[in-house]
């Protein structure tokens, strides 16, 4: 019993450490200042500042860029990754192994090395600075996640399922559209979500490849350039709070739904 309480409190302490900064930021986002005091009482001033501050324009531009780059690159990554998975699945073992190794590489590699290798490449090839660089880089490090999501699903597929479709009169194209895609679609969706999140979240690769002159900033690079120098202005507290609540909320809801579904299925199979 004592052991149980000890264990519980240990978990709580670690959790508290993990969430303390987040909770502090959220609490003080209502103080309207960045000095961790409630001199002005409870106020939404910081939240208003997101829209009214002299930096709002660039802030919203950065938000727009973040979503633009994440959407374009994750859609491209999903399309390319899905087709690549089907192709890789059909490859002979000998070619398949090196291809899979190359696919793993961006995932195991350290981000900074990836980032500078992209930069060297773009600089050497005199590739125009701007969105294209960022989007290509993002596709390159997002697609492996899509492949990693879709390829195992293809592997777990009964190989006879595709043949069964042919056997029942579907031509190869129809068999692909009516059988293979519907079956692997959950894996495609989760690959897409993964690619989108990872692209949204990226800082290092964008920071190093955005190029000094273009002035393109994503949210993370904008935070870095703004907050590194002057510390956090009050509107950042509000911004961070919104991000915390959004991200944590979405992840929590998605995962809970997944768990509930698993539980339901387990129950159903039990009967």
């Amino acid at each position: 019993m004592v052991k149980k309480i000890f264990e519980k409190s240990y978990l709580l302490i670690i959790l508290a450490m993990l969430y303390a900064p987040i909770i502090f930021i959220i609490v003080y986002s209502f103080s309207g200042s960045s000095n961790f005091n409630f001199k002005d009482g409870f106020t939404f001033a910081s939240y208003e500042a997101i829209f009214t501050s002299d930096k709002s324009a660039s802030l919203w531009e950065a938000v727009g860029n973040t979503f633009l780059i994440a959407s374009v690159s994750s859609v491209c990554a999903t399309i390319m990754g899905t087709f690549a998975s089907i192709g890789i699945f059909a490859l002979g073992k000998r070619i398949r192994r090196p291809v899979e190794a190359v696919n793993q590489f961006p995932i195991i590699n350290s981000e900074i090395v990836m980032a500078v290798s992209f930069m060297i490449f773009f600089v050497t090839c005199r590739f125009a600075e701007g969105y294209a660089r960022l989007i290509i880089a993002h596709i390159a490090f997002c697609t492996p996640y899509v492949v990693l999501s879709v390829l195992p699903k293809l592997e777990s597929l009964d190989p006879n399922v595709y043949e069964a479709a042919l056997d029942l009169g579907a031509n190869p194209f129809k068999a692909m559209m009516k059988v293979i895609f519907p079956i692997i679609s959950p894996a495609i969706v989760s690959g897409f979500v993964m690619a989108f999140t990872i692209s949204l979240d990226d800082f290092i690769i964008t920071q190093i490849n955005k190029g000094a002159a273009t002035g393109i900033d994503t949210l993370s690079t904008y935070i870095y350039s703004d907050a590194r120098v002057q510390g956090l202005e009050p509107f950042w507290y509000a911004m961070f709070s919104i991000i915390f609540v959004l991200v944590l909320g979405i992840i929590l809801v998605v995962n809970m739904a997944k768990m509930r579904k698993q539980k339901k299925e387990a129950l159903k199979n039990g009967i």
């Binding site: 009964d158 006879n160 069964a164 056997d167 009169g169 159903k268």
Partner: protein, 543 residues
């Protein structure tokens, strides 16, 4: 059974190779409309590959497949009028039972009368099935497999047996002319399997369509089929009715694979006279050479135990063991150094002397598949010959590179436990007990099968080494045949159910090969002999 004499499928001299390994070798087969044909054999014998070639999932490396008189070798699977029931059902997990069964119907186009177009030509019209038609057909198919109320169910919520029924309904609803079944009952438990066997037989009878069934379960094959095709290592061993397969196995492999049996080596003294276990027996076989070595097969239920002094007794034996098996005792006896197995209703004491009796009719005598190992190879050096990549010492002064034929007796091949102890490594493919010794087949890494007589029972799949004593290797110089310059006329295994049809097929294949030989100006190999086409034709005319 609704078997007509109309041929629906001909498999003509089909070979399927993966790399240099042949999964199916020169298979030829006739299947009649309405027949229930089973392809039977151990795993890896090529039965599934043969079925998949008929379905269109695999392309033969050579040979043709004829369906209703039409060559469908190159027809993709979705255009073939056959449907398949897969081993693990292969139901579409994202569709419910109804939509699984309706899948094929939704894709199908059916004739819808004709019309005259502007140019005055008559054109055939096609349409898809209407929703109502699909519903009716699907419900009919589900009813046939006793799953009427399951249409809305998710396939993953069904039991194995129910999934299998859905798979059968999904195939049958398309009204195929031939239903292919790839070990469909393999994943079910014993009781379920027995029930499904009966149901499948009923369906076959009711629908009257052709079933081609693949299984490794000999009992299943014997129960269900009109015709059994036994395969081994990609080669058809025998095509016959279940009764014939059991009673008159074509060779030791078939005898060993189907049911229990004692297989002994013997000598055919003269017509109707065979010697084994140091005893001369009367038999009903003839047409062998004098003193030809043969295999004798005795089914345990045919070996009768008598009093030693009984007037029927042919030879006496000593009881080694007697085991109760429910409805009989399995009695193992030893006679003349050979172990024999008998089934008897009485039990016997171990060590007891008994008399044995076999009706002449129950002795099955077969030519040996091979009486000596022969390998075509070449000399590595003087007194050194290549066999399957290894260099064996031998007594021959032929220079390096000379093409030679090497002969080694079965009992001169030595198997070693550790592959490294042998000159070459090999894998045990089979091991058949022959009364007093085991006859193993060990396969070298370049796919040569050594027949080996040993005292030990080697485990199938074991990795072993092969050694041969220097003076046991007989080396003869041989003539070289360039394989690219000859075509072999394959031997077609006679279909014992329809001998005329298979002879006709063999004739067709022979004619085609000869035509090809003439066209490409090549020699032919016929019954192991190389000859030019004229010689062959002359010889054939003589027959």
């Amino acid at each position: 059974m609704a078997t007509s004499n109309e041929i629906i499928i001909q498999v003509k001299n089909v070979t399927k190779a993966y790399g240099n390994k042949e999964a199916v070798k020169n298979a030829s087969l006739v299947i009649k409309r309405g027949e229930f044909v089973t392809l039977l054999g151990p795993s890896g014998c090529g039965k599934t590959t043969t079925l998949r070639m008929i379905a269109g999932f695999e392309m033969p490396t050579s040979g043709r497949i004829i369906f209703n008189g039409e060559d469908i070798t190159d027809t993709p699977p979705h255009l073939r009028k056959v449907n398949t029931v897969f081993q693990k059902y292969a139901l579409f997990p994202h569709l419910n039972v109804f939509n699984n069964v309706a899948f094929g119907l939704k894709l199908k186009v059916i004739p819808n009368g004709t019309k005259v177009n502007r140019k005055g030509e008559t054109v055939e019209l096609f349409r898809k099935y209407t929703k109502a038609e699909i519903k009716e057909k699907v419900n009919g198919a589900l009813k046939m497999v006793d799953l009427e109320d399951y249409g809305h169910r998710n396939v993953s919520s069904l039991s194995g047996g129910q999934q299998q029924r859905v798979a059968i309904a999904r195939a049958l609803v398309n009204e195929p002319e031939v239903l292919l079944l790839d070990e469909p009952l393999g994943a079910l438990d014993l009781k379920m399997r027995k029930d499904m066997q009966l149901e499948l037989m009923n369906m076959h009878e009711k629908l009257g369509i052709t079933f081609i069934y693949v299984t490794h379960d000999q009992e299943e094959a014997l129960t269900m089929s009109d015709k059994i095709v036994i395969m081994r290592d990609g080669v058809i061993q025998q095509i016959a009715s279940p009764e014939k397969i059991y009673d008159e196995p074509a060779n030791a492999f078939v005898a060993d694979f189907i049911g229990e049996s004692t297989i002994l080596s013997g000598v055919m003294l003269e017509d109707y006279m065979v010697q084994f276990c140091d005893t001369v027996f009367e038999c009903v076989d003839k047409g062998f050479k004098r003193n030809e070595p043969i295999d004798v097969i005795i089914r345990p239920e045919d070996l009768k135990i008598r009093e030693p002094k009984d007037k029927d007794t042919i030879l006496t034996a000593e009881v080694l063991s007697c085991v109760f098996k429910g409805d009989h005792y399995q009695v193992t006896v030893i006679a003349g150094g050979n172990e024999l197995i008998a089934h008897d209703t009485a039990s016997y004491e171990v060590g007891e002397t008994v008399g044995l009796y076999i009706k002449p009719f129950d002795l099955h005598i077969m030519r040996k598949a091979r009486i000596i190992n022969e390998i075509d190879t070449e000399m590595a050096d003087e007194n050194l010959v290549y066999i399957s990549g290894g260099q064996f010492e031998c007594n021959s002064n032929l220079p390096a590179g000379t093409p030679v034929k090497v002969s080694v007796d079965f009992d001169d091949v030595e198997i070693t436990d550790d592959a490294d102890d042998g000159v070459i490594g090999a894998t045990v493919v089979s091991s058949i007990y022959k009364g007093s010794y085991y006859q193993c087949i060990v396969r070298t890494d370049d796919y040569y099968d050594f027949f080996v007589d040993t005292d030990d029972d080697w485990l199938k799949g074991d990795r072993v080494g092969i050694k041969i004593a220097k003076d046991k290797i007989i080396v003869e110089e041989r003539e070289v045949i360039d394989e690219d310059e000859v075509i072999e006329i394959p031997e077609v295994v006679v279909d014992e159910v329809d001998p005329e049809l298979s002879e006709q097929l063999a004739e067709e294949i022979k004619t085609e090969v000869i035509e090809q030989a003439i066209e490409e100006d090549m020699d032919v190999v016929y019954c192991g002999e190389v000859m030019d086409v004229e010689t062959l034709e002359a010889e054939l005319k003589e027959d």
